[in-house]
């Protein structure tokens, strides 16, 4: 395991940034520093630590699953989000069991830990995970590290290409490899890296498809929905989570986080899981750390209960909307016309597509030239799984407007534009 694990790209991207102190990083997935809730956090922590009883609870060990209050508030918030999102479509959840159960909610060290735990619990070395093509590159690192094979499913403007998903499953079936397929991983809201949001209809049809192949697989095929960017939406309507699907019970894992929309540096994430998987994930988390920091959990509980969490969101979302507009306006001004992108409606990223002949990878002229001019982006190639059924595309860039200031976004895009103009 140790011998197999490669240094994740995230590590050397961070090192590049450290080695170039004047660098404008449009690569980091960091959040906006200006709008981090310092005042709110200070107020909340003073309320917790100023009371003898509350302080004692927050500074003591807790349970592996997490603070009961935070688990309840998390499940409730999710139910509320889905109710609002589905109301618009007059969607009604059916089925006996509520999926929004505090009893199946686990609090984790960022949603990243949830992704790791679920992968660790479900997959053995050699197993197959279906992912979006492209997808979140740290998830690919987990898969690489654990010896898993990834199969990329093409991405359309409203989520994965269902025909391609079906075709992929059929091919795996005909090769008798379905028994190795354990899950489909979707970054379903303002996806990292493409900013695509998966429609509810696509989630429903994807889950149906997975179920159709289960009898051949001989086991459940889970849908792991990574909703990290859900609350960074600044345009359009929210979409109901896969938890609300008929038949979701027992199949859907929902991963969420409070790092993106609130206290990034607290790194509190969560998962809602099917009962059987919940038990196993809890046992493994018991071995990883037997519970996330109680102090941080109490901070988030109080933020949610006091509505300071909710009240923080509108301004945050307006800020990201502004920064996204600065970035895409600058791209329109400075980038050659052959380069295309979709305007993000949330999240932290713009996904820029160059002509296929122009390479954007780490060793490309573009990347090196950008670096020489102190601009860093994430090469698109890093977001594609090592899937032997196709060549990894190498002509895209993930550009983040999350952490850079508006001035730096403008400057960075102008420099990158000049580099692109020279190369094209």
């Amino acid at each position: 395991m140790g011998r197999r694990t490669e240094a994740p790209p995230i590590s050397w991207l961070m090192k590049l940034a450290l080695d170039h102190p004047r660098l404008i990083s449009l690569a980091a997935g960091f959040t906006d520093t200006e709008s981090l809730p310092a005042r709110e956090t200070r107020g909340l922590l003073n309320e917790i630590l100023g009371s003898r009883k509350r302080a004692r609870a927050a500074l003591q060990y807790g349970s592996t699953a997490g603070d009961p209050e935070l688990r309840r508030l998390t499940a409730e918030r999710l139910q509320e989000l889905d109710a609002v999102a589905s109301g618009a479509k007059s969607f009604r959840r059916t089925g006996a069991k509520a999926p929004y159960s505090p009893g199946r909610t686990v609090i984790t060290n960022g949603s990243q830990q949830l992704l790791y735990l679920v992968t660790e619990c479900l997959c053995d070395s050699g197993d197959i995970v279906l992912v979006e093509d492209p997808t979140y590159f740290v998830f690919l690192s987990i898969a690489q590290s654990r010896g898993l094979r990834c199969r990329g499913v093409r991405l359309e403007e409203d989520g994965i290409d269902l025909e391609h998903l079906e075709q992929t499953l059929e091919t795996l079936k005909s090769r008798r490899e379905l028994k190795r397929v354990k899950m489909l991983y979707l970054v379903s809201y303002h996806q990292n890296p493409t900013s695509v949001t998966t429609s509810f209809e696509k989630k429903a049809r994807a889950l149906k498809l997975l179920k159709r192949f289960e009898s051949d697989a001989g086991h459940p095929i889970y849908l792991l929905e990574d909703a990290a960017y859900r609350e960074l939406r600044f345009a359009g309507d929210d979409v109901c989570s896969a938890l609300a699907l008929p038949g979701a019970d027992g199949r859907v894992v929902y991963a969420g986080t409070y790092s993106k929309p609130f206290t990034t540096g607290a790194r509190v994430g969560f998962g809602i899981l099917p009962g059987s998987l919940f038990t196993v994930v809890l046992s493994v988390k018991g071995n990883h750390d037997f519970g996330t920091s109680n102090l941080l959990q109490h901070l988030l509980s109080r933020a949610l209960a006091s509505c300071r969490y909710k009240n923080h969101l509108p301004e945050l979302q307006r800020g990201y909307a502004r920064k996204a507009a600065v970035m895409t306006d600058a791209m329109r001004e400075y980038f050659p016309a052959v380069i295309s992108w979709n305007k993000p409606r949330g999240g932290l990223y713009v996904w820029a597509r160059l002509p296929r002949s122009v390479k954007s990878g780490v060793n490309s002229k573009l990347f090196q030239s950008a670096l020489k001019h102190d601009v860093l982006y994430v090469p698109g190639q890093l977001c594609y799984a090592a899937d032997p059924t196709r060549r990894r595309p190498d002509h895209e860039m993930r550009l983040s407007f999350g952490n850079a200031t508006e001035a730096d976004i403008l400057k960075g895009i102008a420099r990158l534009g000049a580099t692109l103009q020279r190369l094209l």
Copy 2:
């Protein structure tokens, strides 16, 4: 992996406590609630969050290895502890490379995460880990979960029985199983569960022994030193860590924590590792969570830098000394004379040995009767590895004076004593 993992005993022990609200738990490894540093933590967090610059850093993502300041302060503190401990013995470290390097220090979610990461990186399913007999039961859960085999090495009053260690290694060699032996795990300070502290001489001789067998193993055999209870010492001198041993470089992993001596609910731990292992552990932590909460790390940095950490220790240690005395005094008064124990000099536990004929396991009359009288202890059996070379002893109890109040310790021991009197 998921299918193999058993529910860790820690989970059902916690459940028992929840099901018996009037229970006096002498089982939990929780710290003393009264002495948790609420005032200090509040002050430190206000200093961090009251400054715009500091708040922004604390509330943003950090790097996987951890906050550079905390890594430096952690390495320095360890060097200082070892210098003081070795000074008394006029011990001098030799060798070119300092083991106390911030560059090899990683900050983790409790020291538990470090134990998990090291085990995950070093061991494959079927590998063998040498452990103290008895040892920390959550480490045994990690081993069980990862499909490892444990071999218990007898424990004496100053650490493991070196002859037994040698004999165990010889036996493994003759069975051609040395190549599966990856490490020796020692809880070297005020051990959980026995309260035994390993002498520096024993650490030195153990490391030499491991090295002697390496050529037959075909790879390094690491010494994983778990020093979780080191700073909870209330009698006797500190002992130098294995990091200070000649030849430690490249072989010794040191796991420490700030949870036991300071902010338990923050769950900040750390490790100092050999270079090659450091790199791999970092890659895997990159996948687990890409870094521990920056907010908590800044809290600990500031606690260390401002000496509020150091200044908190003497009173904490006096408190535990008092509670340990209350427990052992009560045991002397209420327990039958055939029961023996060693007076702890630190840590959180008293290890009580009953006559071999008296069972203490979960299904024993003793355990059930104690539970009926609302007292919970950790059955000694849980602390023994499933080692086919010997039967798991089942006549001991781990009694914790960490979390219960002095009044409850007294009451709990009196009740347990009455139960024991009836049964013996």
